[in-house]
């Protein structure tokens, strides 16, 4: 029990946000790496769940609970799905970083993003709760119906707010990841190259996974639900292709 405060100080939210040297000292020591991994996972889970709750709050408690479960799950799924490929790519590029450390590095970047989102959660929750709530009559109506259109207007405004918050958190998280990579990679140029490759892989996987885990906010003409009913009908990139083709 006496070790808890020091772990909290060494690997807690403040240490992760600042990227304290204590975090770097953990690399290479298997036991300290394990402790750091556990605390990072916990903090990512808490931060992402808090923001997930806020994400679904506009549609009611049921959607908030679903999103609070799905948001941390999405974060971890991205790490698991892209970890092996990211390790291979780092090794091919000239940085022999083991899989365990690659996952820890990506998780630390994600933990920073999750902690920022957790910190912003009360602000976004307040703004979401002050937005006009969705019209319950809209459930089941076609998207073009005027009642749905009114609620969709608020839906889009909130979506922009969430995208801005997540975009900001993600940018800062990746910037922190670059700093970590500069510490473990032989050169700064190589660290930047690895980050760009990892961003491409994680972004590619993340887009598809977030599409599979959607909805987080849930459109006003659908009842709150945990998994999209159309998830097996194509993928994220097919949807983008069809959207672009329709727009043209």
């Amino acid at each position: 029990m006496s070790a808890s405060p020091s772990i909290w100080l060494r690997y807690g939210p403040a240490a992760i946000c600042r990227m304290d040297p204590a975090l770097m000292e953990a690399f290479g020591d298997r036991q300290r790496e394990s402790t750091l991994l556990v605390t990072t996972v916990l903090q990512t889970a808490v931060g992402a769940a808090a923001y997930g709750w806020v994400f679904g709050l506009w549609r009611g408690t049921e959607q908030a609970v679903y999103s609070a479960i799905k948001m941390p799950a999405l974060f971890f799924a991205v790490v698991v799905a892209s970890g092996i490929l990211n390790t291979m790519l780092a090794q091919v590029l000239g940085a022999p970083i083991p899989l365990r450390r690659v996952c820890l590095l990506i998780l630390l970047g994600m933990a920073t993003a999750a902690l920022i989102l957790g910190g912003l959660a009360p602000v976004v929750a307040f703004l979401a709760m002050q937005a006009p709530p969705p019209d319950p009559v809209a459930v089941g109506l076609p998207a073009a119906h005027p009642i749905v259109a009114r609620s969709m207007h608020v839906f889009r405004q909130l979506l922009i707010l969430h995208v801005a918050a997540i975009g900001f958190a993600g940018t800062v998280g990746n910037y922190r990841l670059l700093r970590l990579l500069r510490h473990v990679a032989p050169t700064r140029a190589l660290a930047t190259r690895i980050l760009l490759v990892w961003l491409a892989v994680t972004g590619f996987v993340g887009c598809e996974l977030s599409w599979l885990f959607s909805p987080f906010l849930c459109k006003p003409n659908f009842p709150p639900h945990i998994v999209a009913r159309t998830y097996h009908q194509g993928n994220f990139y097919e949807q983008v292709y069809h959207a672009v083709r329709d727009a043209l």
Binding site: V123, L127, P132, P133, R179, L180
Partner: protein, 257 residues
């Protein structure tokens, strides 16, 4: 392994004006002379806030925080009463309470993000220290608003235009909050010897939340025609747009601002 520091860049990146503000702050950063009394704390808040920051960070944090809390409460209640004097009646106490609650709720909602942003900037303050600095900022805001109160009261007694009064209160709030937030950013820059530019982004969040809070607690200025709190939810953009587009000559001004 590269041994470059992980923390954000140091102060030399800041502008000359910022450096002079920090130099002034540094000159005043010493233990507070005298007891922690409301009158003395008010004096220091306006003239030597660095001494209060010193107490918060190194000496008598909780006594100073309690006096700041009391000072902020009294000033915000008084300014709220002046704000309510436009409509009179129940609005004297209702606006007072709403203004006080709204300001402290805004600070509370923004506290977690302030702590995280401080850490992101490389700050080493603990959560209680960040809370106390935010309290200092809120108290200064209250004191400055109290300074605006006589001017605002004169206008509130001589016009019926809710839109005009709304803009006047908004201006007073922006000035008071802006100066208070500037103090906090300067204090953070001095305490951490870092640029802490990320806190400027947080200041924007604080202002947005405070504007939405004023919309949430409306009517603050006009008469409570539909109860002490308007049931309709809307964004502050829409609210201000509605207020300004419905701004009629004084005799017909009945919108709830």
């Amino acid at each position: 392994m590269n041994e470059s520091p992980l923390l954000p860049p140091n102060l030399p990146t800041t502008a000359p004006a910022t450096e002079s503000a920090i130099a002034r702050f540094a000159a005043d950063y010493r233990p507070m002379a005298g007891g922690v009394t409301p009158a003395w704390v008010t004096e220091l808040l306006l003239k030597q806030p660095a001494a209060l920051v010193h107490e918060i960070c190194e000496n008598r944090a909780w006594p100073v925080a309690l006096v700041l809390l009391g000072l902020g409460t009294v000033c915000l209640l008084a300014y709220g009463a002046v704000m309510g004097s436009f409509a009179g009646g129940h609005q004297y106490w209702a606006t007072s309470l709403k203004f006080l609650t709204g300001t402290f709720l805004t600070a509370l909602i923004c506290l977690p993000s302030l702590y995280i942003f401080t850490c992101l900037g490389g700050g080493r303050q603990s959560l209680p220290q960040v809370l106390h600095l935010l309290l200092l900022c809120t108290a200064l805001c209250g004191v400055l608003l109290l300074g605006f109160a006589p001017i605002v009261w004169v206008f509130s007694q001589s016009t019926n235009a809710v839109g005009f009064m709304g803009l006047l209160h908004l201006t007073a709030w922006i000035v008071a909050a802006g100066l208070s937030l500037r103090l906090m950013v300067t204090a953070m820059r001095f305490l951490n010897r870092r640029s802490m530019n990320i806190l400027v982004g947080w200041c924007f969040i604080f202002i947005v939340v405070s504007l939405q809070m004023s919309t949430c607690l409306r009517p603050l200025i006009g008469p409570p025609d539909r109860g002490l709190l308007e049931p309709e939810k809307k964004s502050f953009f829409k609210h201000w747009h509605d207020c300004l587009s419905d701004c009629h000559p004084p005799s017909t001004g009945t919108i709830a601002a």
